[in-house]
Symmetry: C2
Subunit: 591 residues, 2 copies
Amino acid sequence: MPYSAPLEAIKNALKFNADIDAAGATGAFENYDSDLIAPVLEEANKLASGILSPLNPTGHQNGASLKDGVVTSAPGFADAYKTFAEGGWIGLPFPEEFGGQALPKSLAIAVMEMIQGANPAFGLNPMLTFGSIEALLVKGTDEQKSTYLEKLISGEWTGAMNLTEASAGSDVGALKSKAIPNDDGSFSITGQKIFITWGEHDVTDNIIQLVLARTPDSPEGSRGISLFLVPKFFVNDDGSLGDRNTYQCIGLEEKIGIHASPTCVMEYNGAKGWLIGEENKGLAAMFIMMNAARLQVGLQGVAVCESAMQAANAYARDRKQGSAPGVQGDAAIIHHPDIKRTLVSMAATTQAARAIVYAAAGASDLAEHSTDDASKAKFKQREDLLVPIAKAWATDRGCEMANQAVQVYGGMGFMNETDAAQIMLDARINPIYEGTNGIQAMDLVGRKLASDKGAGMTAMIAEIRKTIADASTTGNGHLAIVANRLYTAAGALEEATEWMLTNMASNRSTALAGATAYLRLAGDVIGGHLLAQAAIGSIEADDSFKEKAVILARIFADETLTQAQGRMEAVSAPANLVEDAMTTLFEAIEA
Amino acid sequence: MPYSAPLEAIKNALKFNADIDAAGATGAFENYDSDLIAPVLEEANKLASGILSPLNPTGHQNGASLKDGVVTSAPGFADAYKTFAEGGWIGLPFPEEFGGQALPKSLAIAVMEMIQGANPAFGLNPMLTFGSIEALLVKGTDEQKSTYLEKLISGEWTGAMNLTEASAGSDVGALKSKAIPNDDGSFSITGQKIFITWGEHDVTDNIIQLVLARTPDSPEGSRGISLFLVPKFFVNDDGSLGDRNTYQCIGLEEKIGIHASPTCVMEYNGAKGWLIGEENKGLAAMFIMMNAARLQVGLQGVAVCESAMQAANAYARDRKQGSAPGVQGDAAIIHHPDIKRTLVSMAATTQAARAIVYAAAGASDLAEHSTDDASKAKFKQREDLLVPIAKAWATDRGCEMANQAVQVYGGMGFMNETDAAQIMLDARINPIYEGTNGIQAMDLVGRKLASDKGAGMTAMIAEIRKTIADASTTGNGHLAIVANRLYTAAGALEEATEWMLTNMASNRSTALAGATAYLRLAGDVIGGHLLAQAAIGSIEADDSFKEKAVILARIFADETLTQAQGRMEAVSAPANLVEDAMTTLFEAIEA
């Protein structure tokens, strides 16, 4: 099924959830004009639907391959990457100084949604490059910026993130790779990195590895890791490429999905690299990349929801099977009420996931570019709160939607060559990488909730209460019901938040046993709020999407906000029992 | 991770949910003695854990292969099948007259849970054989029975079910295969069948195909299909094997899982077959196989829950990553409260799924063998109600549990060779085959609920109310809370049932749009009821499993029964809106 971007739904989320015009109004984006949104999105959709989508099944069937250290990308991927780079798509949100277009990050997120929806294995390559660019922008020296940034931003080279080692995954502080200083100020990096996405490939002439390693006598744990820039080919003073660096891709993982994205085992044998930022401060640099990447992975979740819905919709119209009321002869399965319900529910969930991720991106723009410090702080708090929810909630929903698409396909959904199967297999990594969703939940209740005594969530709930009031005054019957459901749901979120704050202070283990359930509840309620917010805004602006926005908010409220009260109980009640139940049901845990 | 059957949990469900002793007390099972349960289960576990489990990853990596019409099974499978057959396991629930052991079906279900848990690709072969045996027992002529049944029951031959064609899946009545009568009373069968599980293989000398086809001038649709017995090799009068029949396996599907189970495209070229039962009554015979198979697939869901939980538990104890409170140095991830919560929740869901499937099997025994007609009718009603719930609810939970196991594995869960990945991939077919879960939901609200005006469900709710009363009188604190939650949940199920009955009468499309959500709610509430029932029974009998039974019921009540009220609202509210939402959100549907 060819992917085609849902331009109207994306524009609506950009306008009413990301508040892209507020970013434009800060004056920080000289090139931004709200009239630019439509042509940019249409152009990106041509690339996504015309070039990347047709390569997606090819990539699934063929995958990337490794021979003698050389990774050959799936057929067509190298050419597609060149087209993508030449379109200037990577530079969208980056400074003009380095060749970027200095547009809001939320617009870049909208473009990347299309790339990820059309071809997620392809999309991982620019996604990792973004992380490298962000890290260099913040932490790089002027020389590093002038040597590497322009080529990364133009798409001429790509970047890869080398964090994980065999015994250092979620616990990155356990890594063992070494960086020995050379006389010329560079370092010699030695060690093995695993799960390195697009760590080696043939789609660009050079690859810039960002590698975490330890310098001699560095402190133990995460306070002793430093970030290094390790190019595949050294760059001569005139910008031309010199010798090959001494590292190799020694293996590709056999994964269940994203076959066209090479997942590399990288062996660094005294490879020459340069420190990015300060020694032993690699973790901070890593979190810059990581934060950007977490939002991008949440976006992959949105893209999965959308492509799963499109596949299910197209297949349900195509597949004839049996009779249906009011249809002569064989009926397409879309005539069955159960299938309609599935599609309608998928549409609401997809837009809720999009709303959350776009709201986080919009908050990020305003956190960086608001004109006063109070606003900056407010939106930073918002961004911090939303990023783990965006990552975990949207990727979990992505897997669920993919699962539903497979179900609509029936027996064909279990066949390896179908779109539905590929979407499901590709999607399954999203809740795992860039910090498992369990880690996102710990981040939400630990770093984001407990550290500011719930101020960010309190502000969010206040905003939800404003939405409830606004919804009631629109005079729209659907939104009146949404307001009622949101009222109960906000109360549930508030109660769960209080429980969580109390227990994080007094009984941390119990609190953490409720973290995943709490994140789910928070995503449900915030998703319902954002859909209502978009519906209200669309009515006020007489937006062409307004009928859709209203029904999406209503369906989501009926399907999901109705569950909030029950979910609130399921945050705390089982959490209180987990230790006892573990002891009763399972063998003793060895220390 | 080696699979090992949870003998105590299985025995508890057999005793208190399947009520196996009540089946024994009917006198219909001469060989049955409750002291037999433990040694039978232990012996079956030796086979499952010792022989079938080690072959499971091998089967995943190698799969079955086809060359020149010959299907070669995965390494070790043929020998394992011989061991399995020699153990007499297939004959457990079948009449002694044909070499069976005439034991309750619920005991056979317990044994098959272990086979499916250890190696689902292997387990599909006997599962399909069961269906063939059931059809022959009910519909076969004496000659057919004497020629084929003993060999099927001994496991010397296997049976396969040939229903699906390219345009006749869920709508089996659309099938086009032809059966032309020969002068000798046999028929010549011609047509192509797809998705035929273990349709061709090398693990036994003969295969008995049960094939649906149309005789000349048969009525259109499902009223014109007949069932035929088509052996791979003809059977001589002395029981020896004669010529090869004229059909071929012409292809194997490339699936995402159960690679060691050959899924065959079968081409019948005038193959010789014999009618089973009456002409044009094939659908009735098919439903005998189907009903047996649906419960077996629900059982696969249980087996997936169990093997996913075992894999997650073992991996969480083995995998060291980062620190945890109270642990020196690197801690196994099982120390994290989020992982403990996952495991505890998986345990409760697994036992609930087991309870539902075993209760259906127990009802089936009593429906067939109760000593009075009223009891027979009562348990038949119970069985009919529970089968679609067992099939759909348990397989959906299986996929969820498998997904959670992958999540516990983290990045390793996305690697093709890990147990967690295999469990998830293998499990994904369960909600699809033998009638998709959407079809189970339509069966529940259409055939099972509306046809008897809800009498079966009303009887079930009355039983739930009895459990609530019993739970309150045990004096157990956990069960008092369970009783409260079950009370609310039963009310929700009652309300949803009323809505469903009203709408099935007046507004069928709306009702059907709520069918899947209704089945989910019914499974949740009945699962909670059955866990409470087992806990109460275990306390009364001072069963060694009683502490576990109580905490499982409590955890399930906290996690799942708390959701019932919200789920009830989500049955009806979105269903009422589906048509409007479909029109607003999606392109028009072509007639």
